[in-house]
Symmetry: C3
Subunit: 611 residues, 3 copies
Amino acid sequence: MKRIAYGGDYNPEQWPEEVWDRDYEAFELAGIDTLTVGVFAWAHLQPAEDRYDFDVLDAVVERAAAEGRRIVLATPTGAMPPWLAHAYPNACRVDFEGRRHVYGQRHNACPSDPDFRRLSVALAGRLARRYGDNPAVVAWHVGNEYGGACWCPACGAAFHDWLRKRYGGLDRLNHAWNTTFWSHTFTDWEQVPPPNALSEHWRGPNHTAFQGITLDYRRFMSDALLGGFVAEKAAIREHVADTPVTTNFMGLYQPVDYHRWAPHLDFASWDNYPPEDPSPVRTAARMALAHGLIRGLKGGKPFWVMEQTPSTTASRDVNAVKRPGVLRLWSWQSVAHGADAVLYFQMRHSRGACEKYHGAVLDHAGRTDTRVFREVAALGAEFTRVGDAVLGARTPARVALLVDWDSWWAVEMSDGPNRNVRYVDVLAAYHRALWQANVPLDVVPVTADLGGYDVVVAPVLHMVKDDLAERVWDLVDRGGSFLATALSGRVDEDDNAFLADVPGPFAGLFGLRVDETDAQRPDVVNPVALGEVEHDARHVFEVIVPEPSTEVLGTYGADFYAGTPAVTRAARGRGSAWYVGTLLDDPGVAAVVRSVLDEHGLAGPLADVPD
Amino acid sequence: MKRIAYGGDYNPEQWPEEVWDRDYEAFELAGIDTLTVGVFAWAHLQPAEDRYDFDVLDAVVERAAAEGRRIVLATPTGAMPPWLAHAYPNACRVDFEGRRHVYGQRHNACPSDPDFRRLSVALAGRLARRYGDNPAVVAWHVGNEYGGACWCPACGAAFHDWLRKRYGGLDRLNHAWNTTFWSHTFTDWEQVPPPNALSEHWRGPNHTAFQGITLDYRRFMSDALLGGFVAEKAAIREHVADTPVTTNFMGLYQPVDYHRWAPHLDFASWDNYPPEDPSPVRTAARMALAHGLIRGLKGGKPFWVMEQTPSTTASRDVNAVKRPGVLRLWSWQSVAHGADAVLYFQMRHSRGACEKYHGAVLDHAGRTDTRVFREVAALGAEFTRVGDAVLGARTPARVALLVDWDSWWAVEMSDGPNRNVRYVDVLAAYHRALWQANVPLDVVPVTADLGGYDVVVAPVLHMVKDDLAERVWDLVDRGGSFLATALSGRVDEDDNAFLADVPGPFAGLFGLRVDETDAQRPDVVNPVALGEVEHDARHVFEVIVPEPSTEVLGTYGADFYAGTPAVTRAARGRGSAWYVGTLLDDPGVAAVVRSVLDEHGLAGPLADVPD
Amino acid sequence: MKRIAYGGDYNPEQWPEEVWDRDYEAFELAGIDTLTVGVFAWAHLQPAEDRYDFDVLDAVVERAAAEGRRIVLATPTGAMPPWLAHAYPNACRVDFEGRRHVYGQRHNACPSDPDFRRLSVALAGRLARRYGDNPAVVAWHVGNEYGGACWCPACGAAFHDWLRKRYGGLDRLNHAWNTTFWSHTFTDWEQVPPPNALSEHWRGPNHTAFQGITLDYRRFMSDALLGGFVAEKAAIREHVADTPVTTNFMGLYQPVDYHRWAPHLDFASWDNYPPEDPSPVRTAARMALAHGLIRGLKGGKPFWVMEQTPSTTASRDVNAVKRPGVLRLWSWQSVAHGADAVLYFQMRHSRGACEKYHGAVLDHAGRTDTRVFREVAALGAEFTRVGDAVLGARTPARVALLVDWDSWWAVEMSDGPNRNVRYVDVLAAYHRALWQANVPLDVVPVTADLGGYDVVVAPVLHMVKDDLAERVWDLVDRGGSFLATALSGRVDEDDNAFLADVPGPFAGLFGLRVDETDAQRPDVVNPVALGEVEHDARHVFEVIVPEPSTEVLGTYGADFYAGTPAVTRAARGRGSAWYVGTLLDDPGVAAVVRSVLDEHGLAGPLADVPD
Ligand SMILES: [Zn+2]
Ligand SMILES: [Zn+2]
Ligand SMILES: [Zn+2]
């Protein structure tokens, strides 16, 4: 049964068993071979703390196996049952506003609550013991869309432990957080509050008086959530030797540092709900970036699309249906980017609550003659025909795009220079240029081995940590090209400014220093000439003082720094270091990126095909 | 003294008694014969829990009676005194954010607090005993503008009781709320939290993870507030045999289901402060809709305009004065729609606090030569001249417009398809078409007897409950016309989707099924051709599969469903069923509505008079 | 060493001592002679409640003194250390939403907390004892940028005390607050809650049900914050006989009534960070207004610019650099307006946290060849050259602009007529007209002696209190001109409407009454003809009934009050009273203001020089 896994979330416990027959008839019509079960089944599986009940799940699993379907078995810990919250109120989170929540919604368990941890791990273990040997179970799916954050006292205490491990003592912590500023010197671990609206923050999560505190809390919270995954996975591994374990990521999701999570997953998977964008090309590029990011989590190995909607979302303000052919297009794009599975949320429309209008393979009437079902079935037939032809495929790349959650967090929580700069916007702009150049590309963390690349592109590499600067020097020395942008090289691992010329450890590499950084409202454009062509620059304008040997490729056309460098290139070793000191529009980014690729003859064969 | 009641809120306790003489001189000049007294007098009437003091109110009532004025006597329970909140902190509400309020403002007592209930009912009883026999008292006015909501523990417990009565057991509750979704199966009543920002909600009151929970809380809260009214009315009835009892509604006010309240009022009344709209015609139509709704509460019997401003409001961002003649125009519109009373808030400008700039018959200087006073007095003279000519008038109608709070709540709290759809906007659009056709119209609840109507129009009839579908079939069978719009027939009484083709119980009636529902941003227009004319459709576009016999009256002009039906008509029995699968602009709505009316020759004689 | 003090905030405790040498080399290059030290040093100075440590500050002070610098010594009480908040949680504020904060940020100590008061005063006293005799210390700088507000129980109790002093008894309080309205009669001081989101407020701090309560809380809070300053100053005075004591104000900062604070400061100082405005001329005028306000605090005596940025701010959404020459321009403007000191925040870029990108004289690399440093040094050289030529200069003025915090508060928290009216916008419009007329101007409180002025301009003099009306009559009687605008003369000291014609005590002076006040959205313009020229009026339109003798200078051009007076002049005594019943655009305001000035031949010699 080697083929692209095709199917999705299946919650037959929401319907009477007579409907199940019709479900499988439809699956047969649609070529569906893979079912994700149990995602939100906790209340069924454990109706009370001292009582488990696997009858329904047994029936679901048995039927699926009997029908020859592959099963992705989920631990249901993404949504706790009411009895748990009622018995253990501290399992509910305290929010950014400092309020303890009570029961409701999902994805909202405190990651530091010992009772929630104990009960979720116990249930994962029970499930593993019961279903671990079932050969139909091809993967384990822990929790669901981990995310959010908690600021409760238990998390505060866990944060103290995390800080103790990181810093050893308060002296190092005070130095890292630069607490001398505004008299924040901590003399007892207990004095450190979770940074939220009641302590360091003003206006919102990105507005903090102490970036170092907030940055560490983000790191801690990502680790704390990971702790839940790791603990459930360990419980599963007590009973399950080899079946791979994963959880479904959400692409470019800021609150969780997937690079820190990646080593703990057996394979990567994600839910593909691209943000609304009226441009289909930009949407396609955005999905390509996310696919690349996810594939990059496990060194380029294939990943799964764990969820996508057959038709509409429901939770957005406006939920358009996917136009005819879009489902097919996006699904094949996933496969082309390395997906070995294309799964839907959801197989059948939910009867009630907030996802009753979320797209499904089968509608409320259970029809197989809807447009949506017909498209699903046609794609299923294609997947059946293609068989195992593309499974496990990999795409070697000589170009890397660096992504760094720390830089993302740091630049967006920075006071100054410009709150309108969005890390992902700049990242996506450079990615689009690479994508449209049709060049094989890896999207990798800043810790990645850069040894195999000719070109490394690092948009808004705000933070420079560990040995990154050395590895970049090595890349350039051996003939590679490195490109970075405005707001790079600003802070160290603790978000303290380098006490040196900007861009810090890279100033020598790029052969320049940034004398000052201007910022302007979004409607202010400064034209930057690259060769004969002028491009629009916006938001941030670094005033650059180049070394004499540095080549000036583009200059500002306006303001008091008109005529000074905006884009530069420095020959270093056998390679080159490119610096773009502002945020260019798409054609401007493309022009720079194509120049870099051209140094290595890397633009792809379809680079100049119009969209 | 049979005439249109004319006057309004009169709070002479705010001024020294020597001013009262001037008040009555002015009332005489203005033809004012009716005074509403006591609305916020609790602190005066009961300065401490164990002490009542009726001296001032006695004087007010005696003077008014002596001057031959009719008195509307209010219970002052719309605003509690400070001592009450101080002694009983739980009388203050817990808000949507989960915060217990302390003393302040008005209209903010917890409807479930036993102390507030006891004290408010006791005071109502005392007032009734003291003034119930006074022949000048022509009506009782309980509380004021009931509204808002509370999420306190007492309301939570009362919600549990309400749920127990509604569902009997938790199994039925879990089924109604579809709790299997997201593991919400409740195993103890105590586990059910009031749905607010700390439990099921995200972003705001219309964004909930479980629509069923939130919907029931809305129903419960409307009933809980009603409980206060009913209890006060009962206390009044212990001493007052016949004088009618009412409370002042607020027109199209979403938080309170006036249809559930209506049976408990002896007559309906409301406060006419139409929302700002730069178009005078739209404003007039909006008031006509609200008048119709209020008249519909008591089967078409006359109602009272309990408040309107003589000139400006104060609480809005921008408070324009009423242009010359507008007061007269709106007041006569009220009478034309069935008002037997036209009352103002307020007779004299308040000296301080938040309504000191709210319009008044008499300004701070007490002048009778202001423009406002002159207009008030001129209208008073007209009312005097008209005498009892229009009192008790009724307007038989063969057309009904259905309004349903449940549908209003459900469609606006729905996740998907489009948050930009506003129930009242669609309702008002269809109402405007009927109003401009100059057809006598009843605005009635979905529980109304449809037996007397030829045409029933049901915009966004999202929820279909009880025997409504049968009654609609009956209407059509006997030759009537029924019209519904996009987003109708979607959910049952519990907000669960019908497990059937859309529009559920009406699919057969309309002779079609909705295959899918597209949604687009407000700037996206799809032209819909009706006959020779194209109209703009927006927001929601249902892709309709008609039965062969169904007449297609309009088709989409754009997108992948171009050429498919947008507006249909099915002949059924001796009548017809019309379906509009999108939201049309005003001319489009008018075209459809006029076609329906024309089937019955119902457009009014002034239908084609320009505005 | 008599010269304009030049320098700024210097926090060398954030760097190792070897950097200090380079600091002083740079100061020498830049002509910097004044250093503000200790502003946020509490954690250093008192690392635990029972332990003080002056070693670092000793070194800083000794070095500065040895280098011949003037020292501004700050008490560090603008930011409490963590140990304090941890030991005394009530030192943290309760915010407008009713939430007790925990440790974080700065400027957030409860002004009513006895422990914070005790500890801050003790530290101020210790500092004074230790450094009070040092001749290098030329000024004391208490706290930092006092502001914000607290709504905690301690503040609530202090509010009760403040109210008892103000009103004596509850009867007077109830009368002042007009509590009869909405049943708010307080019968016990304890019943009065701090007015915030949990009590009287809706939507925000300017939306209150009881203006009187909120207004008094603003006054109380300004006084409560002042209490902290006064107590620290007293502690300093125990050890320091003559060195002047100040604190740094923030210009037109609404929460604190600087007029109530002024008597307690030995000289006035402020931080000049003008609000973003794309127009350099408007920005210059805005700074001129603030300079004038600050100079007016101490009867026209010179003041200090305690902070300005050498280049960029950091806390705004978009932080532009100061264009070349702007630093020089603004600094000399300060001096021209009476500043005897021009100081920067900050001397060296902070290493980390929220001000690491805030402009500094020295950047993170410590360079002296940046554009910013060069401009700082050039200005320093100019200041050195000018020596003591301008020190202590005063500018006699015959024109006064009235500013009144009470009116500012009252008009912006008013329900009606128009929330889009901003006190400072109107104030600044009239100020710009005077500034562009190049007339020497005093910006003074409404309590100022008006005896020396020929022209007094009072935009939005909403509240009229004490003997102001008499003093204005005197001004006009002896030949002066008085000008007021729409929304003047509306309320008394308690924010109760005058029970008289509008504009209350001024109706006779202006020879008119306002019959009604219309308000319109910002896009509605009513043209007002002044002579031959039409000007745009917006927002508020008072419909004026003039006395026969009143001269009508401008009339409305549109709406139902077209042709009625918008601008009037009444001859009174030997002078004149001008009234502008609407909000005119800049040319309209200029036309009126120039007419008034022309009566006294007061337009300056450069009045008609283009910007
Ligand atoms: Zn937690
Ligand atoms: Zn309650
Ligand atoms: Zn406080």
